[in-house]
């Protein structure tokens, strides 16, 4: 994962969407994220690993359900067994140690965040659904009304142009939604309310980090 300069990042679970009101009384659509608590499972250093990073675990799991490498590693570091392990890249040495908890209060109301998740898989979809193509007239003798129609020219160029939009596998891919405003942080329920939609299903795991656009420029 990209380096979160201030280390403001957390793993979260999408709970669903609702709405709230801003100070003007306008409705704001929000996604509720159950953010953390994540536990630091490893601190990576340039000496050992070549870069600064935190490895964090999220969502409790029975140790016997983990694969042996993860289980043994957790026992060795004396941290709780976690289902998901991710790395948070850091630009500077970590100010946390193994066993520390990361909670949703790393973010404040008004922060902007980027949310990384996997979109819902739509399977193999036709051009109308995947690319918003129109359909042929449903009457007047048309049969294949949902097809793409012509996909190219004639003997010249004699081939289909690269990138031609056709029926395709759609969804189930990693997507980053940028610059979502944090509308509320509720530590007691580990809830992070961000404005707008977030990729994936309810219960899907997403990675939340301080928005790239609002981070201080990298100095080197």
């Amino acid at each position: 994962m990209a380096d979160a300069v201030p280390g403001k990042a957390i793993l979260a679970r999408k709970e669903g969407m609702t709405q709230l009101f801003d100070e003007k009384g306008q409705v704001v659509p929000v996604t509720v994220l159950k953010a953390g608590p994540c536990v630091v499972t490893q601190v990576k250093t340039p000496e050992n690993d070549g870069y600064h990073a935190l490895q964090v675990g999220f969502i409790d799991q029975k140790p016997r359900r983990l694969a042996k490498p993860q289980r043994v590693e957790a026992e060795k570091r004396k941290v709780a067994a976690k289902r998901i392990l991710r790395e948070i890249r850091l630009a500077a040495p970590a100010d946390r140690k193994v066993g520390d908890e990361i909670k949703c209060d790393v973010f404040q109301v008004g922060d902007f965040v980027d949310v990384v998740g996997h979109t819902k898989g739509r399977g193999f979809t036709g051009v109308m659904r995947a690319w918003n193509f129109g359909h042929k007239p449903r009457s007047r003798g048309n049969m294949n009304v949902r097809g793409p129609g012509s996909i190219g020219m004639r003997t010249w160029p004699g081939r289909i142009l690269k990138g031609k939009r056709m029926a395709t596998q759609w969804g189930g891919e990693r997507v980053t939604v940028k610059n979502l405003r944090v509308m509320a942080v509720q530590v007691e329920s580990n809830s992070l309310l961000v404005k707008g939609a977030v990729p994936g299903t309810d219960d899907g795991v997403v990675y939340v980090q301080l928005a790239r656009s609002t981070r201080p420029a990298k100095s080197s």
Partner: protein, 133 residues
């Protein structure tokens, strides 16, 4: 299963205004004019209430210069300062969309009045058309 509504509980009004479908109400709407804030009234009949929880809305219909005007308000929005009930009416439906096709005499509704036990009951006479302006 609803796992999200508890997170926006604090954005709801503690004492939401009490009114029902068929009531003639004054909606007090906060309006920002430059840096001044004032309250504007929108008076009419509550046609319907939709959704639940923080998303609950109601539609108010009034007649302005012979033209029907409807506005939809979120119950819990801070922009809705108050909803004052002017008259309650006895209605048989949860959605009064049929009022859109009616005017004058056919748009009358019977008033609901309190009897001696404090229960709301249909009044005797049919009421005049609600919220004329």
């Amino acid at each position: 299963m609803d796992r999200v509504s508890h997170t926006v509980e604090s954005f709801k009004k503690k004492n939401p205004p009490e009114f029902g479908v068929g009531d003639t109400v004054d909606v007090h709407v906060r309006i920002q004019e430059g840096d001044k804030e004032r309250v504007q009234l929108f008076s009419g009949v509550v046609l319907c209430m939709k959704n639940s929880g923080i998303a609950k809305t109601f539609t108010v219909r009034r007649i302005v210069q012979g033209e029907g005007v409807e506005r939809i308000f979120p119950v819990h929005s801070p922009a809705i300062a108050d909803v004052k009930v002017r008259r309650r009416h006895h209605v048989h439906r949860a959605k009064l969309y049929y009022l859109r096709d009616r005017s004058g005499k056919s748009a009358r509704m019977r008033e609901r009045i309190e009897d001696k036990d404090g229960e709301l009951v249909p009044g005797e006479a049919a009421a005049a058309p609600a919220a004329k302006s």
